[in-house]
């Protein structure tokens, strides 16, 4: 009896050990990888169609990456004024949305990116000629351009019928852009949201964006471009609730080669969800114009 009392615990431990060994073997690198229990995108999703036979991309969509803080890998960081706002305004950590991880800057351009970041909340509009020299345009409530508008922490709506125009409406500063389908005309001037021309590539909406104002930034980290910016976006339906978004960014004045970002867009599913207003101009007037007001007489 004593033998059993001593060996059963031993056998239990041993059995547990053997079980663990078997479990380990089944998930080990040597054998097959156990599939993640998280759901995957359907391997071949076919979106419902509009009457013209194209996929229906209508809906309210939002990105949940932290690319607006920094497209590249980033640690959590204090905000610009932690002594005033503590954890409010601090930035979350995030993984790069860039294929290859980093933006391929020309070496001399990197200094400007770093200077942008240092000056992200400095503004000086006292001289028209240097009006745009300092500060993150987002902080000034300027329209963010493409692709930044896609990953701002706000929803946007795709309004797609069967005409040759698709409207993208962004909650951030109520920015909009019209995507002109199969359009030849070039951008007549530069604009903040660019000149967008679209076409279908199978089920993917491809949007070619040129003519963007050079003053927009890609993110709060100061990543930037020149007036040579050329962006090609791809919106691919991946499930009833997801689009996969890709954007190829080309600007030979600033980067050594084109580079690509990619992340999912999620359909906002709340009942009766609608785009609301984020008309932020009034939030910026004190920052921009406060110093020009009449001072009280002494």
């Amino acid at each position: 009896m004593l033998f059993l009392r001593r060996t059963i615990p031993f056998l239990c431990v041993a059995a547990a050990g053997v079980a663990a060994l078997i479990a380990f073997a089944s998930s080990s690198l040597v054998g097959q990888t156990r599939a993640s229990s998280a759901p995957q995108m359907p391997s071949a999703y076919r979106a419902p169609r509009l009457a013209d036979g194209h996929p229906d991309l209508n809906g309210i969509w939002q990105a949940f990456v932290t690319a607006n803080w920094n497209l590249e890998d980033h640690d959590a960081q204090p905000g610009p004024h932690p002594e005033l706002s503590g954890a409010y305004g601090a930035g979350p950590a995030g993984q790069s949305v860039i294929e290859g991880g980093e933006i391929p800057y020309r070496p001399q351009a990197l200094a400007k990116r770093n200077a942008n970041f240092q000056n992200r909340l400095k503004v000086d509009v006292s001289n028209d000629k240097t009006w745009h020299a300092l500060g993150d345009p987002e902080a000034k409530c300027y329209m963010p351009g493409v692709p930044r508008a896609t990953y701002m922490p706000f929803p946007f709506q795709i309004v797609q019928g069967t005409s040759q125009y698709v409207l993208f409406a962004y909650e951030f500063t109520s920015a909009t852009r019209i995507v002109r389908m199969n359009w030849q005309q070039e951008a007549p001037v530069d604009s903040w949201m660019g000149w967008s021309r679209g076409r279908w590539d199978g089920d993917t909406l491809v949007v070619d964006v040129t003519g963007q104002r050079e003053e927009t930034w890609f993110d709060r980290a100061g990543n930037f471009h020149s007036d040579a910016l050329h962006v090609v976006e791809r919106y691919t339906p991946a499930s009833p609730y997801h689009l996969i978004y890709e954007a190829t960014i080309e600007d030979s004045k600033v980067f050594t080669r084109p580079w690509k970002i990619r992340f999912p867009l999620y359909r906002r599913m709340e009942t009766n969800v609608q785009l609301l207003e984020f008309k932020c101009v009034p939030f910026t007037e004190e920052l921009l114009f406060g110093k020009f007001r009449k001072q009280a007489a002494r």
Binding site: L50, G161, T162, T176, M193
Partner: protein, 344 residues
Amino acid sequence: MRHPVLSTVAGVALAAVVGLVMPTAGQAPKPAPAAKTAKPYNAPKTPWGDPDLQGVWNDATSTPLQRPANVGEKGVLSDEEAEEFQASLAHDLTRDRRDGGNAADVNRAYNEHWMDARRLKITADKRTSLIVDPVDGRIPALAKLPPDRDTVRAQRAEGAKRFAAGLPDDFTDMSWPVRCVVRTDVPPYLPTIYNNNFQIFQSPGYVTIAPEMIHSARIIPVDGRPHLHKSLRQWLGDTRGRWEGSTLVVETTNFRLDEGVLFQNANPATFKITERFTRVAPDAINYEFTMEDPTTWSRPWTALIPWNKVDPDEQMFEYACHEDNFDIVHFLTGARLREKKGER
């Protein structure tokens, strides 16, 4: 010799601008007929069955909102009268005039071709006012303001005076359009000097109206969902639409409570606007709006503005505003400089 209409049009325009009431004529006015077509137009439909309003549209016209006093009770003019009316309005409005002294000239701002040429033409139906109800073609009498709104109104008027004199104290002395917060995108849509363009997009369950100034889109659900709760308020309000036959009927509520956003400083807490869009021809939409605010006007009033299709020849272009609004700084720094020099 000047046309008699000319001498009063300016006066009426001033009244429209400052919101004063023009005394109505003594006799009973004749009704102004609504714009009508020879036979009802069968508008095309989108593939999902909604009447098709899509395209780029322009609402510019010289026809004034309110009937000028000197056309008497006439709601609609004869061909000959209409030609004279149009000519005298065009003469008033054209920027290519240089007469009238420097004070008038500086305000004309630029050559005429910087402006929308359609705003020198009266509406095709030859009406004498855009207002169709009341039948005298005038905005109804203004209600008396309660003391608190009166005070706020007076403060804003003081600021506007400082701004008009070129000596604003602060950016708050400037109007919301000058500050690029809203422009022609607050309903009702009224013609202005340029960029009188709207693009209508349609998708299943929505009609979307994108005015050119300032780049915002009004995405209107037509699926019967309720308005936002009354505590959620927006600069452009909250809009819901429904189809009545081939007319899109649009109701907007939930305006923010800031003063000075709405037409004639209507009270955002009690203001309601109903707009109706009807395609009446391949190249025309009738845009009709009814304004209601018992704390501002003694009764509701309605205007009808024809929209003309302009694409494919003309397109919408981006109207960024705040991004390059250098003038805010010019106004303020200019004022500070002049104060230093002793100008006040």
